[in-house]
């Protein structure tokens, strides 16, 4: 087991797949010679050269369009969109083209491609460089959506995404890039569509994603230690496909569901999970479903404001304590 940072795991995952398969290519803005603006792709340009690791102009439609054209003709491209907010300028290619092509052509076109993007708050970048937009992608049929919380998952899920025959979008949480964790030695591959139970408790089941998984774990520690409330924590990892079996089973065990979402309130991914739980295991619930989200606002920039907008450990503790006691 090696200790890697989340950002090192990104490069390690891409490198593992590029070594294995010559058809894997990587493109994006500043990803090559510069090693990425978040330094998540350092070393790839040096190892694989400019033919396979290609710096692009600031042309998000061209980046994703090129990835799509390459994928339908035999390559397995990985495309980086520097900030997930920028998906808005190439959303046509994601939502209208990449996601729909297989269906519209009745299976003639396959798009084995990966879109990686830095998502989420915590860096004081303001409303256009900090959004958590995983719920946008989840709303589009035809694209898989994953958001890892730990370096081992980053590496293993990137590998799985590259090998997947369908398009996959990976939301990397940018304030986790410095987070260190154990990553297995040797080839590393995870399964897309599997949630992970990180701890088990008896009073409630917290379902979280990416950065919020870390907040859920920290909150669960405090709730147990200071208030005697014991929580199960489930890392969703994959929004599409969604591991409803694990989520439903874990919620049924505690009788309470708490979702912690970084996305703004309306149509956040937790709403879908709440709806599934209410539909399918309503009689297993001992109390109302609790959704803890960012308010329905554009994100503010100042550290005090940003910290109080996205769900904090303190807020999670407070809300669970108030509503579950």
């Amino acid at each position: 087991m090696a200790q890697l940072t989340y950002r090192e795991a990104v490069a390690a995952g891409i490198a593992q797949e590029m070594r294995r398969d010559e058809s894997v290519v990587f493109l994006g803005e500043d990803i090559g010679a510069a090693g990425g603006v978040f330094k998540a792709t350092v070393g790839l340009f040096e190892e694989f050269g400019p033919r396979r690791v290609r710096d692009t102009p600031i042309s998000e439609q061209a980046i994703l369009g090129a990835a799509m054209g390459a994928a339908m003709t035999g390559l397995r491209p990985i495309a980086e969109i520097m900030f997930s907010d920028f998906l808005a300028v190439c959303w046509d290619i994601v939502a209208n083209e990449i996601a729909k092509s297989r269906y519209m052509t009745d299976g003639q076109i396959s798009l084995p491609l990966v879109i990686r993007t830095a998502n989420g708050a915590g860096s004081r970048f303001g409303a256009q460089h900090s959004q958590a937009v995983e719920n946008w992608a989840m709303a589009i049929p035809g694209i898989k959506v994953i958001a890892p919380a730990f370096p081992a998952d980053v590496k293993g899920l990137i590998a799985a995404a590259v090998r997947d025959p369908d398009p996959v979008i990976i939301f990397e949480q940018k304030s986790l890039y410095a987070f260190k964790g154990e990553v297995p030695d040797g080839e590393c591959i995870e399964e897309i569509g599997k949630a992970k139970v990180l701890r088990r408790g008896k009073d409630c089941t917290i379902v979280a994603l990416a950065l919020m998984v870390h907040r859920a774990l920290a909150a669960a520690e405090i709730l147990e230690r200071d208030y005697g409330i014991s929580c199960t924590v489930v890392d969703v990892r994959s929004l599409v496909p969604l591991d409803t079996q694990t989520i439903l089973a874990e919620v049924a065990l505690t009788g309470r569901l708490v979702t912690i979402e970084e996305n703004p309130r309306l149509c956040g991914w937790g709403a879908e999970i709440a709806s599934i739980v209410a539909d399918e295991i309503f009689w297993e619930l001992d109390g109302p479903i609790i959704r803890i989200t960012t308010p329905h606002i554009p994100l503010p920039s100042a550290d005090l404001l940003e910290d109080n907008a996205i769900p904090s450990v303190e807020r999670v503790v407070r809300e669970i304590r108030q509503k579950i006691d």
Binding site: V25, R51, R54, T56, P57, S59, Q61, A62, I63, L64, G65, A66, A67, M68, G69, A70, A71, M72, T73, G74, L75, P77, D92, I93, N96, E97, S101, R102, Y103, M104, T105, D106, G107, Q108, I109, S110, P141, G142, D164, P165, D166, G193, V240, P241, L242, D243, T244, Q245, I276
Partner: protein, 341 residues
């Protein structure tokens, strides 16, 4: 035809193409014309639903490229893509069946008129969002370049596309990576209902932008199948040999409105009539006769083409409707639509 037209290829009257190619070009233009007219008739009979954008009057472009392309080259079309799809050898009953929402349709009824695709014949999709397919075509060209296959991607689009961002992103991208992609602007003078001249800063919406991307200005007569064919060959060969992309503006005119809903009333009086004089099929027929082709040969081609359209129509009409079970098929590579376990 146009004062600024820069006719790069030689005049289209020589015998250099050979009669086989010329008859191919004539036959293909006829098939495209008859099939589009049939599509219109089927609309009037309410056998085709939804919308449809016909290439009537613009057939020489799809035909010229279709005949010039290598079997393994790729075509990227717009929503006005029936002709370009057929020009690569897609089955006509597959096209008409798709328009009619039948099981025999190229896409099994999933895509419709605006999304015709036939991967086995190199038709890599018809794209209904203006400009979206230019970067996609560049990506296919990148794949050909990366794998060293010498395939070329040909991307057709209308004059209106030149004012959307993806056009500019794709051109710059294709040039800096020297990609084997040919961008073909079919300038039919109207972006949907509005004259392109009235909403564009330059006279030639594509060609006058070429210099911004270090590309040659190329404007050709899009109603002359020989000229289209020669130009296509020239720039596709250059692209195959690593010479990079080209942007070709083909001057043409659509005989019908923008879509099924548009009678084209905004056109100044006499404009359509002037262009009908330059109908690509009419001028091609006259040329073939001048070159010594026998009237009976042309008549035979005309009869055969009409028979092909008639047969395809009957086959499409006879095809069953798609199965309701197909609704949730082929979202994913496993053939299904499951988003949860």
């Amino acid at each position: 035809m146009n004062k600024t037209t820069k006719k790069t290829p030689p005049p289209a009257t020589g015998a250099d193409l050979g009669s086989e190619v010329r008859l191919d070009l004539y036959r293909l233009q006829l098939e495209l014309r008859y099939c589009e007219k049939r599509a219109y008739d089927l609309f009037l009979q309410n056998l085709i639903k939804g919308t449809s954008h016909l290439s009537l009057g613009q057939e020489a472009i799809a035909a010229g490229f279709g005949v010039a392309m290598r079997k393994d080259d790729w075509t990227f079309c717009t929503y006005r893509g029936h002709a370009h799809t057929l020009a690569r050898g897609a089955s006509m009953e597959g096209v008409l069946g798709e328009l009619m929402g039948r099981q025999c349709g190229l896409l099994g009824g999933k895509g419709g008129s605006m999304h015709l695709t036939d991967v086995k014949n190199g038709v890599m999709g018809s794209y209904a969002i203006i400009g979206a397919h230019l970067p996609v075509a560049a990506g296919a060209a990148w794949s050909a370049q990366y794998r060293g296959t010498k395939q070329v991607a040909v991307c057709f689009f209308g004059d209106g596309t030149t004012n959307i961002g993806a056009f500019h992103e794709a051109l710059n991208f294709a040039v800096i990576w020297k990609l084997p992609v040919i961008f073909v602007c079919e300038n039919n003078l109207y972006m949907e209902y509005t004259p392109i001249r009235s909403v564009t800063a330059v006279e030639h919406p594509a060609a006058d932008r070429a210099s911004a991307y270090n590309l040659e200005k190329i404007v050709i007569d899009g109603n002359d199948a020989d000229e289209v064919y020669r130009t296509a060959q020239k720039y596709m060969e250059r692209a195959r040999e690593g010479g990079g992309p080209a942007l070709i503006e083909c001057m043409t005119y659509r005989h019908s409105g923008h879509s099924r809903a548009d009678p084209g009333k905004y056109r100044p009086e006499g404009e359509l009539e002037r262009w009908l004089e330059r109908d690509p099929i009419k001028i091609y027929r006259e040329r073939l006769l001048q070159m010594g082709m026998v009237e009976a040969t042309l008549k035979d081609l005309e009869t055969q083409s009409m028979q092909k359209v008639d047969r395809a129509t009957e086959e499409a009409k006879a095809s069953p409707l798609p199965s309701i079970d197909d609704i949730e098929k082929n979202v994913w590579a496993d053939g299904g639509a499951a988003w949860r376990n």
